[in-house]
């Protein structure tokens, strides 16, 4: 959509927001329907297909043995990557990750890293030499807005359901044996994205809304109530709006954490 049609829709969505309404009939603080299917990919150690409204994101977790970083010889390595493949949107182009996919991957990574969701100390096979590398790969399949939340929910679900084989040292050689255990996941960081239209805040903006937002912020909470990552993605906020966004996000993050724990618990049985 472009030109006049776009302008009209912008006006329409803004007018709705003033009346606390949204184009798809949701309340301002209402999430879209969220469906998460863990273990979608059998070749991945962990995976989850996420549908958030019409947005579809597939996340895979792969494990590999490798060297630790020089400054953290006693920890495993976490690498998060996002591909906005052109299948997912007419706006996405083939090529190396652009700023949007880099921001997406880095923000999801920060939530997991800073909350210490993965106990990286338990991923060491031989200190200073060999550790498990956890690759989180985010593959966006259909973009209808709020890719960050959908990707993060996929990532934590894939981590919670991932299986790690045992690596043992046998006469100085490292062998991977066919004994599987869950990854050492100790926290469940949950981001919630808040958009601003005029002076209204709303959560989980869809693509039509994203196109007319004045500002957007993502806030990640862990279960103890700590904030572990924030990213203002665009626009500007007042101090009061930031506080309001935090409180909106905090509430919603709890409900979504419960949903994800429910799903992943089910997956284990």
């Amino acid at each position: 959509m472009s030109g006049i049609a776009a302008t009209l829709q912008k006006v329409y969505i803004r007018n709705l927001a003033e009346k606390n309404k949204r184009i798809d009939g949701r309340k301002l603080n209402q999430y879209r329907n969220l469906e998460i299917t863990p273990n979608f990919i059998s070749k991945a150690e962990g995976s989850a297909m996420v549908q958030l409204g019409k947005t579809k994101v597939l996340v895979g977790v792969k494990l590999d043995l490798g060297e630790p970083f020089k400054d953290t010889p006693d920890k495993g390595v976490l690498i998060t990557n996002a591909e906005l493949v052109p299948l997912a949107s007419p706006e996405f182009e083939p090529g190396p990750p652009d700023e949007n996919s880099v921001e997406l991957a880095r923000f999801v990574d920060r939530g997991i890293r800073e909350s210490e969701a993965i106990n990286l100390s338990k991923l060491v096979v031989k200190e200073g030499e060999t550790v498990w590398i956890v690759f989180i790969d985010i593959h966006v399949l259909d973009h209808d807005g709020n890719l960050i939340d959908a990707s993060a929910y996929g990532a934590i679900t894939a981590l919670l359901t991932a299986k790690m084989p045992k690596a043992v040292i046998n006469e100085e050689k490292i062998e991977v044996i066919d004994e599987w255990a869950p990854l050492p996941i100790e926290r469940v960081p949950i981001p919630v994205t808040v958009g601003k239209i005029g002076d209204k805040l709303l959560i989980d903006p869809n693509l039509e809304e994203e196109n007319v937002l004045d500002a957007k912020i993502c806030i990640t909470f862990e279960e103890e109530g700590n904030i572990c990552a924030i990213q203002k993605v665009m626009g500007l906020f007042t101090e009061r709006e930031i506080e309001e966004a935090i409180s909106l996000a905090e509430k919603k993050s709890k409900k979504i954490r419960e949903e994800i724990l429910e799903i992943t618990k089910g997956g284990d049985e």
Binding site: K56, A88, F135, L141, D142
Partner: protein, 246 residues
């Protein structure tokens, strides 16, 4: 080089047939793996399809005909068909580094060449039609599954087509001609022969081979593959009907 090999490091089995004459997967010589197809599964794309073929999971989107950038890529007399075959990082046993490699560059080309004959590109001069293929999970035979799904996505997009394109691989393992090789059979077998046809007139739009076959074996394999395509063609048509059924 030898990129396919590096995806799979399991040990070579002693033989590829069981004592009862069936293949290790329990299949008969000319038995296909289970195939599921779903058309119209994406919102943004003009056409889309999802295929599960054994453990292969592949999603295809079609965009276009649309404007081409940069403009000097436009062909005055017809649409340009672009194809991009891409494997997700988690689709293979060992994590695949994102981005195109030589194998995916070649596959993108052969898949495009398999689809072109079915399209009426001259109806949309100066535009581009993009076929984006994402392999979400792979287990041998992704190119034929991709072609089969891509022709559904093209049909779903409403583009006029001469026929669907239907593909399957034949091959040779432990000296016998079989259909629809899985990863292990592809890796440890003697030959792989992926083919695609337009089933209505049995015209062949893809044929590749690696391995060793006598011309006689090739003839047998080709014939069996063409037969199997008819079976897959029926599934394609059902998947399309499913899409438009109320």
């Amino acid at each position: 080089m030898n990129e396919e090999m590096s995806y799979m490091l399991e040990k070579k089995p002693e033989k590829l047939f069981r004592d009862d004459g069936k293949r290790l997967s329990g299949r008969d010589l000319f038995e296909l793996r289970p195939i599921k197809m779903k058309v119209g599964i994406l919102e943004n794309a003009d056409g889309s399809a999802f295929i599960e073929w054994g453990k292969n999971k592949i999603i295809v989107a079609v965009y276009g005909p649309r404007e081409i950038h940069p403009k000097h890529m436009a062909i005055p007399t017809q649409a340009r068909l672009r194809c991009r075959y891409n494997m997700a990082a988690f689709s293979t046993s060992e994590r695949k580094k994102p981005g195109p490699d030589r194998r995916s560059i070649e596959l993108s080309k052969v898949i495009r060449e398999a689809l072109v004959p079915a399209l009426l590109l001259e109806k949309f001069p100066k535009t581009v039609i993009d076929v984006f293929i994402e392999v979400l999970e792979s287990e041998g035979g992704t190119r034929v599954a991709s072609i089969t799904a891509a022709s559904l996505a093209l049909a779903d997009s409403g583009l006029p087509m001469k026929d669907l394109v239907t593909a399957v691989a034949a091959g040779k393992i432990d000296g016998k001609i079989v259909l629809d090789l899985d990863s292990a059979e592809d890796m440890y077998g003697e030959a792989d022969l992926p083919i695609a046809i337009m089933p209505r007139r049995k015209e062949i739009t893809l044929i590749q081979m690696d391995g060793k076959m006598t011309p006689q074996e090739l003839r047998l394999a080709l014939g069996k593959a063409i037969e199997a395509c008819q079976q897959i063609y029926e599934m394609q048509k059902r998947a399309l009907l499913e899409r438009y059924k109320i």
